[in-house]
Symmetry: C2
Subunit: 219 residues, 2 copies
């Protein structure tokens, strides 16, 4: 079944503060998820909230996270409790003429749901490749694929992308009318995640060249 | 009273996965908090975890977050429930010779505690300036300071920096011994948040020059 092009906002996924910045389009949400590198996983253990940063991958309408079977986070999530996964891309600093109206441009996605353990070796392998592909497309085909021990030794959880929302701010500052006369610079400082020159592993033979996906890495 | 130079790891703030990456030094933790621009605030409402990205500021041993008094997040936190605030800096992609050993270099901080509402106008003003200073030092002295309405119309919460831990990964990939023979590039792609050319606000008079803290913005 094809998923809907738009998510239906639920009570918990509805953007309440500045609703015009909310976006429930699947395309928008997936573009943000695909550009991000780290998600923040929120869960509750003994009444206590935890927010843990981790890598992730997306395959169709599933978000995968993974780690050691000893991970407190993964073991807790495995029990089927509610999880909230947030991905935030910071696009710029917004400098207004007043302290109060300073802001940031960003794109964020919040996903709600419950995670399930990936059981089949086939889906696990697909997910593990997705983690590498998420960061560097094509890379998973060049490296040694996961072996049986690695597959067994990795816990992979799958979160369905059923209930999610994006929130996006763009553009310059919005000042109080009277403040536009102030002799203060105002505008946006765009920010982006950029890559510096790759650093060879200390044991890399000199015959191996740095691939262009590393020298020209862009997000 | 001077706070201790090191945080005492509590049960919830102890780094359990790869404990050697844990760091409880106040200096390390504050450097990470001061470099970050966005934190992820985790809290529980009706048993449901929420993870919301937001700006923050630090003054001594307090972390401030703020927003509209109508904010669901702030109203929930005001009731004195447990909160978890996480800041993550992504420093690089670590490319190993096997899919399994791919990793990321990062520095993250997790803070636990309960927030309290900042009541006095004096501390509120200090916090509001801290939000601007956190992003651009000196900027708060150039812009119009918050007026009475803005102070009243902003809810500021203070989280004591009493219980926190950092987790840090640095360096290249760690491959299985047999994989070092593979003819695959391995190393690190360093990442950093970089600023592009500032964009003037559309209503900025041409007589106002872009300040160097904007043209040379660095994090």
């Amino acid at each position: 079944m094809q998923p809907e092009n738009n998510f239906t906002p639920s009570q918990r996924s509805t953007i309440k503060r500045v609703p015009k910045r909310g976006d429930y389009e699947r395309n928008t949400i997936y573009r943000i998820l695909d550009e991000g590198l780290v998600c923040h996983v929120g869960f509750v253990a003994n009444g206590q909230p935890f927010v843990i940063p981790t890598a992730y991958g997306r395959v169709d309408d599933k978000l995968y996270i993974h780690g050691s079977p000893a991970s407190r986070m993964l073991k807790t999530l495995q029990s089927g409790i509610e999880v909230c996964v947030t991905v935030t891309l910071l696009d710029g600093l917004v400098l207004a003429r007043s302290a109060f109206h300073h802001s940031m441009n960003y794109r964020s996605v919040v996903v709600f749901g419950t995670a399930t353990t990936v059981e089949t070796a086939e889906e696990k392998l697909e997910a593990l490749n997705a983690f590498v592909e998420h960061v560097i497309p094509q890379r998973s085909q060049e490296v040694r694929p996961p072996n049986r021990n690695e597959l067994t030794g990795t816990l992979v959880l799958s979160l369905p992308l059923d209930e999610a929302s994006a929130k996006v701010r763009t553009g310059g500052p919005i000042d109080d009318e009277a403040d536009y006369e102030l002799p203060v610079w105002a505008g946006e400082i765009p920010l982006n995640l950029s890559a510096a020159e790759p650093v060879n592993d200390s044991r890399l033979p000199s015959s191996i060249e740095v691939p262009t996906y590393a020298t020209q890495y862009m997000r």
